[in-house]
Amino acid sequence: MLLYDPTVTGPEYNYKRAAAIQSIEGKKIGILENGKLNAIKMLEETAYLFEQKHGCSIEPIFSKNNAGAPVPHETLSLAAENIDFLITGLGD
């Protein structure tokens, strides 16, 4: 019996990991929050630790309008222009 495969092959991506930053001392941190309950609170607390322990500065918060969708490319591009690294995480 000949059966069709119900799966599909996905596209091939040529993504590479960004080079790791050598030190976080004094770097600019971005915060990306997903709009869920407690998300900002949790991320701000985390960023505060970087600020206290490593002298990092905190840039304005980037927000997702839709927690259930990927972050818009424009948001990431804007963040990349203005920060050294981004912290994110889920609310709830």
Binding site: M1, L3, Y4, P6, N66
Partner: protein, 361 residues
């Protein structure tokens, strides 16, 4: 857009049907239940119900880039147990799910555990012998069951929404096996959903809604629209469900008879439900669920609806956020409410005509 079908994606398996079913299990192609082995002949027969080339892409996954062709949908429809004549409903449903506003990735991946709830409306429900009557959500009807099941198999096999890997549902819901009903036209006093959606006369539609678990609303003592709808609004506004999300309400014929006898039309019903499905701000704060952002979204700048009341968070943004469907058996005061997966506007219900192309190039 066309995607080539690779000949290498045909599997030569033992002719014994049980062995072939086991082969499908071993490949990880099932939802846990046995599937019909997708033989080349059966898939080709399914494809006779779609006029476009089999390589046509009908839905794409925003995150992984996986694309569902008509061919892939047909393979999964065979596996689900569909008759070929069901296929146009599946194609229309996938087309609806592919609208960005539906956000099928989010609803399929989320801890929320939603399932695409399909409501088929119009004359095609009779052509396909779909069930809009007794035991509406229950087992026993091939079209309802297998059309709904196909959508899940497509999510599993094509878009790789794998439980525990890319589907992170905390508890899921039984609708994730199949969640498809037909709208009842017999004894329905109101225009059908497909008519309300303004499709041309005689054209059926399928509406997809990223739905949470099913909530039964029992009320055998109600004798007025306010009593019937008051109990439904209470379910819509329970602490576990109240959000800015949309709603699906399936009214039992017994409840519909009470409402229509009083002369209420569909819009009045939706407005009443919207008006009564609310929680006071302080009560929401009491259970830790109040979010100022949600309240502002509903009430700022004069509010999203003139029916809103200060210091109350209503379910949804307007009465038109309620999908109102008639369905079920003649006997019994059992309606149902299906909450949205989305707590705000992350997924909005979508509809498409079945088997026709309206305003297409």
């Amino acid at each position: 857009m066309l995607m080539p079908i690779e000949a290498s994606r045909i599997h030569d398996v033992p002719d014994d049907p049980i062995d072939a079913i086991d082969y499908c299990y071993n490949q990880g192609w099932t939802d846990g239940l046995p599937v019909i082995p997708p033989s080349v002949a059966r898939v080709d027969e399914m494809l006779t119900y779609e006029g476009r080339p089999a390589e046509t892409v009908i839905a794409s996954h925003s995150v992984t880039g996986f694309e569902c062709t008509i061919h892939a949908a047909a393979v999964n429809a065979v596996m689900a147990g569909c008759k070929p004549e069901y296929f146009p409903v599946i194609v229309a449903a996938l087309d609806a799910m592919n609208q960005p506003e539906f956000n099928f990735h989010g609803s399929a991946a989320s801890t929320g555990g939603s399932a695409p709830f399909l409501v088929v409306s119009g004359p095609m429900t009779k052509d396909l012998d779909m069930n809009s009557d007794v035991n509406l959500f229950g087992p026993g009807n091939r079209a309802n069951t297998t059309i709904g099941r196909t959508i899940r198999l497509v999510l599993l096999n094509v878009f790789r929404m794998i439980p525990g890997v890319s589907d992170k549902s905390t508890q899921g819901n039984p609708g994730k096996y199949s969640f498809c009903i037909a709208e009842r036209s017999r004894g329905n006093p109101w225009p059908l959903v497909c008519e309300e959606q303004k499709y041309p006369e005689g054209v059926s539609s399928v509406t997809v809604f990223a739905g949470g678990g099913f909530c039964n609303i029992e009320n055998h003592g109600a004798n007025t629209p306010e009593q019937v709808l008051g109990s439904i609004a209470d379910a819509m506004a329970n602490y576990g469900c109240i959000t800015l999300g949309q709603s699906a309400v399936v009214l039992a014929p017994e409840h519909v008879r009470i409402i229509s006898a009083a002369g209420w039309d569909r819009q009045q019903v939706k407005e009443y439900l919207f008006t009564k499905a609310y929680r006071h701000v302080n009560d929401l704060k009491g259970v830790g669920k109040f979010r100022q952002r949600d309240y502002d979204r509903q009430h700022s700048n004069g509010g999203t609806s003139p029916l809103l009341i200060e210091n109350q968070l209503h379910r949804g943004l307007t009465p038109d956020d309620i999908l109102l469907v008639v369905g079920g058996g003649d006997a019994g005061g059992h309606s149902s409410f299906i909450p949205s997966w989305s707590r705000a506007r992350a997924s909005l219900m979508q509809s498409k005509p079945i088997g026709v192309c309206i305003d297409c190039d």
